[in-house]
């Protein structure tokens, strides 16, 4: 499937179905102009009405979509989703005609066009969904508009796609794609080595096989817009004291993580990941054990003496354990503090973060859309994902200004300032590293892309030499 936009190489939204867009009324109104040659697989044209229907369906409380909030910047969208208004016509998205989609926003949102790269904003066909109900995604029912058509779907087993001969950007070079759902990495790797598969990714390569895979032709390491961090629960002693938080962050040598994990993690002390607008590697507290000890001493714990028993928690997974043990060792060595490690099953862990949080917790964040707003809002005062319980009105204000700023240079300055508060001044979190996706493609093929949000792009796959 394709939507209004997709990312270009610089992770900026580039035209696909939308050939252009106008930002009007100081950013509060966006008018998307659609191509007129895009068709569904049943031959009908893709129109602005299909987008209007899809977005309103996403917001309809009866759909109960987990991603409804993505469109809450649209006028009346949140009220409609909450059931405060029931008339969908009041929601600020409207097909002006077949090929013009008008969006009214509650406030200017510089990131809004980037949202249209996200799959949940792709168009849908009202007639098909109403005809087939919950079965509308089944092969034979579904109509789509991308380079491939769903031809077979055996749940928990395999999916088959065939090339869409009417795809508006030209028919793909390969006729058929088969995808197999294989949970066990060693099995998937065995299938690749037996020649049953032509492509595998992180989910199919066991950690211990990574060095061997890295030597194969067709191997790629794709940096991801996914950050891994530890959060301090800032209303729990002793982490209510910013000096303690800074000391703990400065006692971590982040360069060890690629060595103890998969080899291509990118250590970071700032939060906005590389590749995203406003990424700034100069921000953040770097490894400095003497300064960390000084800060801890100043906070009343010279060489860690008198430091209370604190807990570092993570959800049960081998990688998380490896990181936690390394961090535990560094804090003991550099600060004289021995933290207790605690791990829990995922859902229990999530519950505990809300009800009885540990002093320090592990978490991560992957981008929904490639805009810093998606990363930075995580720690705003109202964010449901901010388990640090830290609030800073200045930080919130900077994010608000940045989200409404259309000048990239000025946006970057605002995010720099906000990141300094987050990673240097208040330090409710300590970013540790960003992740990498590994892929291996059979050298007989070329053109398969995995983007920085781990999405597979099959459109340009072709046999080598063609």
């Amino acid at each position: 499937m394709v939507g209004l936009t997709e990312f270009d190489k610089n992770l900026r939204p580039a035209p696909v179905i939308a050939k252009s867009w106008d930002i009007l009324d100081g950013g509060k109104r966006i008018l998307f102009h659609l191509r007129e040659d895009v068709t569904w697989t049943d031959g009908k044209k893709v129109t602005a009405k299909d987008f209007e229907y899809s977005w309103k369906r996403l917001l309809n409380p009866k759909t109960a979509s987990e991603y409804a909030y993505i469109l809450f910047d649209i006028v009346n969208a949140e009220d409609y989703n909450q059931g405060k208004i029931t008339d969908a016509a009041l929601v600020g998205v409207r097909a002006q005609d077949d090929f013009a989609l008008e969006v009214h926003l509650k406030h200017p949102a510089a990131y809004f066009v980037a949202l249209t790269t996200f799959e949940v904003t792709y168009p849908q066909r009202q007639d098909i969904i109403e005809k087939f109900g919950t079965r509308w995604t089944a092969p034979g029912h579904i109509v789509s508009n991308g380079p491939f058509i769903l031809s077979s779907w055996k749940h928990e087993n395999e999916i088959q796609l065939k090339a869409n001969p009417n795809f508006f950007l030209s028919k793909p070079a390969i006729d058929r794609v088969e995808m197999f759902m294989v949970d066990e990495k060693t099995t998937a790797l065995a299938m690749y080595e037996q020649g049953q598969l032509d492509f595998i990714d992180n989910d199919s390569i066991p950690i211990f096989e990574k060095p061997r895979m890295a030597k194969l032709p067709g191997f790629k390491a794709v940096p991801q817009l996914r950050g891994y961090y530890y959060g301090f629960v800032t209303d729990r002693k002793p982490f209510h004291d910013v000096r303690v938080r800074k000391a703990f962050s400065m006692a971590i040598d982040r360069s060890v993580f690629p060595k103890i994990l998969h080899g291509a993690e990118r250590p970071t002390s700032s939060w906005i990941p590389p590749g995203m607008l406003a990424h700034n590697p100069k921000i953040g507290l770097t490894y400095n054990p003497p300064e960390a000890r000084r800060l801890l001493r100043e906070a009343g714990y010279p060489e860690g003496k008198g430091f209370p028993q604190v807990t570092l928690a993570y959800n049960t997974l081998e990688d998380h354990k490896t990181v936690a043990e390394a961090v535990q060792g560094m804090w003991k060595r550099n600060l004289g503090v021995l933290v207790r490690l605690d791990n829990q099953e995922w859902k229990v862990y999530l519950k505990k973060l809300k009800t009885d949080p540990p002093h320090v917790y592990r978490s991560g964040w992957g981008a929904d859309y490639p805009d810093p707003d998606n990363f930075m809002k995580l720690f705003s005062s109202l964010s449901g994902n901010n388990d640090t319980r830290w609030k800073n009105p200045q930080y919130d204000r900077l994010l608000d200004l940045a989200s409404k700023e259309f000048d990239e240079r000025k946006r970057k300055q605002l995010y720099d300032e906000a990141q300094r508060i987050l990673c240097e001044i208040d330090v409710p979190i300590m970013p540790l590293f960003t992740t990498t996706e590994y892929t291996v493609l059979n050298p007989r093929f070329t053109g398969l892309e995995v983007n920085s949000m781990a999405r597979l792009i099959l459109r340009d796959v072709k046999p080598k030499g063609n």
Partner: protein, 305 residues
């Protein structure tokens, strides 16, 4: 006979109700909910989801609703797999698990019966020691180790069988052997020890003294009289084998139902947890019922009804 069947049917229904109630209570008191995510959902979005699945109702009302729908044969929607019902998922996956389970059972029986007979007959010989060594190995080696080993030898090194891609002849062999190995080993052990006991009985000596052929003594008298313990374990074993194994399905990418015994719990997919638990219970109750019927066929002194 009819009274016995009716009595067992009522008993089975009572067991199902108790299991349903206990599972319902336990899964709701377990911390963490089906829609807890790393990416927390806004309260208004969560409220819509809760309303869609009636999770906003008091627990007792949810329980009543579940039982009512269950009686009508509706197992509810899966919370994890959007737009799919538990019944759809079971319909897709249970036949796969059943096919694999029956093949593994056949494998286990084909291996265990001859192994036990030879081991018991040639007691303390190398045949006995060798087969019991293999049986001990079969019981102690975990599924995932055996599966990985078989993949490495027969798939990666020799290229005889496929590691995944369920549905082709070459992809069925390795999971069947892996799933059937432990039951084969366990049944061999069990049958051998019962056979040894039976072979020392007076009626075997009498049969031999009467000049009966050794094969008749062993197969007709000794084996038949040693089957009761094996039959007792076969009931639960069949139920376990045909509802699938998480490890086997995970290792060999088999699209069966076994995986949901684990993933439904980790996902807190309540209707799915209830669905697979009740199906397993129903199969277990049915298998035990059949075993009870067979007791009286094997040994007329035992009256099932």
């Amino acid at each position: 006979m009819l009274r016995f069947i009716l009595k067992r049917l009522l008993h089975g229904l009572a067991v199902l109700w108790v299991v349903a109630t206990l599972t319902f209570v336990l899964m709701h008191v377990t911390p963490g909910g089906p829609f807890d995510r790393e990416r927390r959902l806004p309260p208004e979005v969560l409220a819509n989801i809760a309303a869609k699945y009636h999770l906003d109702e008091p627990l007792i009302k949810q329980y009543g609703r579940y039982l009512r729908e269950l009686v009508q044969g509706d197992l509810g929607p899966s919370y994890k797999y959007v737009d799919r019902n538990v019944a759809d998922i079971v319909r897709d996956t249970l036949p796969v698990s059943t096919a694999l389970g029956l093949m593994s059972l056949a494998f286990a029986l084909l291996i265990s019966f001859p192994a036990a007979l030879f081991a018991a007959y040639y007691h303390n010989s190398w045949v006995d020691r060798g087969s019991m060594f293999l049986a001990t190995l079969g019981i102690s080696v975990p599924h995932f180790i055996l599966g990985a080993l078989l993949i490495w030898i027969f798939s990666v090194q020799l290229g005889w069988f496929q590691a995944g891609r369920w549905g082709q002849v070459t992809s069925v062999v390795l999971p069947t052997i892996t799933l059937g190995a432990a039951p084969a080993a366990y049944l061999s052990h069990l049958l051998r020890s019962t056979l040894l006991e039976t072979l020392g009985e007076d009626f075997i000596r009498t049969a031999r003294a009467k000049g009966l052929r050794e094969t008749v003594v062993i197969l007709k008298h000794a084996l038949r009289n040693s089957l009761i313990p094996t039959l007792t374990v076969l009931g639960p074993l069949v139920a376990a084998l045909i509802t699938g194994s998480f490890v086997i399905e995970y290792v060999f990418a088999v699209p069966g139902m076994g995986r949901f015994f684990i993933t439904a719990v980790t996902d807190r997919d309540y209707p799915m947890i209830m669905g697979v638990t009740l199906i397993y219970t129903a199969l277990l109750v049915s298998a035990n019922f059949l075993v009870d019927l067979f007791y009286s066929v094997l040994d007329p002194r035992i009256k099932a009804y």
